[in-house]
Symmetry: C2
Subunit: 169 residues, 2 copies
């Protein structure tokens, strides 16, 4: 596991649209996940680890049943709770995120770092990039506070065209 700055892709993982060494990108995220769970005591069991690997294969979101199909062919259980439980674990540990618009899940690109993520979803190539949403989240908190509402969890997602697909249009 190398330091983030060794890898352009990993140093700025919100640039999922840019060409980058994704094998490294995925390995790095997995290594971070292992390090993180080791410190928290959370158990990254074989199913859970495998689900994370599957999510890390691409910067896309996978539905629970897509993940389940993969697991089933690899000898794990083939009933929905198998996938949903592993995904729930990953989300709770901050190793994956749920994309509400897609009813699907994507691996977190910088697990362990406290971050407010937004997700940029390309409607053409279905790439999902995790972007920095600190400013948007702050704006949301501020607006909510005006009404006395206290934000606990936020969902910030954008649907549109990624730079690659824009070029082709």
């Amino acid at each position: 596991m190398s330091a983030p700055q060794d890898c352009p892709g990993c140093a700025a993982p919100d640039l999922a649209f840019a060409a980058h060494d994704h094998a490294h990108c995925a390995q790095d995220a997995l290594a971070r996940a292992e390090a993180l769970t080791a410190t928290t005591g959370a158990r990254l069991t074989p199913v859970r680890r495998r689900v994370l690997e599957i999510l890390l294969e691409e910067h896309k979101a996978l539905g629970a049943y897509d993940v389940l199909a993969r697991l089933a062919t690899e000898g794990f259980g083939n009933q929905p709770p198998v996938a949903y439980r592993a995904l729930e674990f990953l989300v709770e540990q901050g190793l994956a995120h749920r994309i509400q618009r897609l009813n699907a899940f994507t691996a977190c690109v910088h697990p362990g770092e406290d971050h407010a993520p937004a997700f940029l979803i390309c409607r053409t190539c279905h790439t999902v990039a995790e972007a920095e949403a600190t400013a948007a989240r702050a704006a949301l908190d501020t607006e909510a506070a005006r009404t006395g509402f206290q934000v606990e969890r936020s969902t910030i997602e954008a649907l549109g065209l990624c730079p690659n697909c824009r070029g082709q249009a």
Copy 2:
């Protein structure tokens, strides 16, 4: 139909948590919806209008099947497409919004006005307030632009505690 400033609740409809004359609030939104569809030529038929009325009863989000159950008792069709089609129409016309986190729908509190909505969802009383998200949306657009991504539609939702429920905790 009175001007917005005549009604404290309607003038600041993002204050759904505050006590307000909700009958007026709902009537006003319905009147605006009628005016809007009259100008655009969209047909606010009986089912569609009734669905909007149902959504306007409370500042909550209703699932398609909740709406459908209501329609069925009133002599409309009782199959899912009846509800989904009416809801889809309302969303397209900007008379209702879909709440992604809840797989549910809520009436728009200021139809016809161009607005970037965020939704504040109380996890206790399930009230859904439509808040102003221009700032959050701008922050999202800016961050997306850094990666060359062009935002077409955004989902900005917050889950938390409304002022009333905070008081009771």
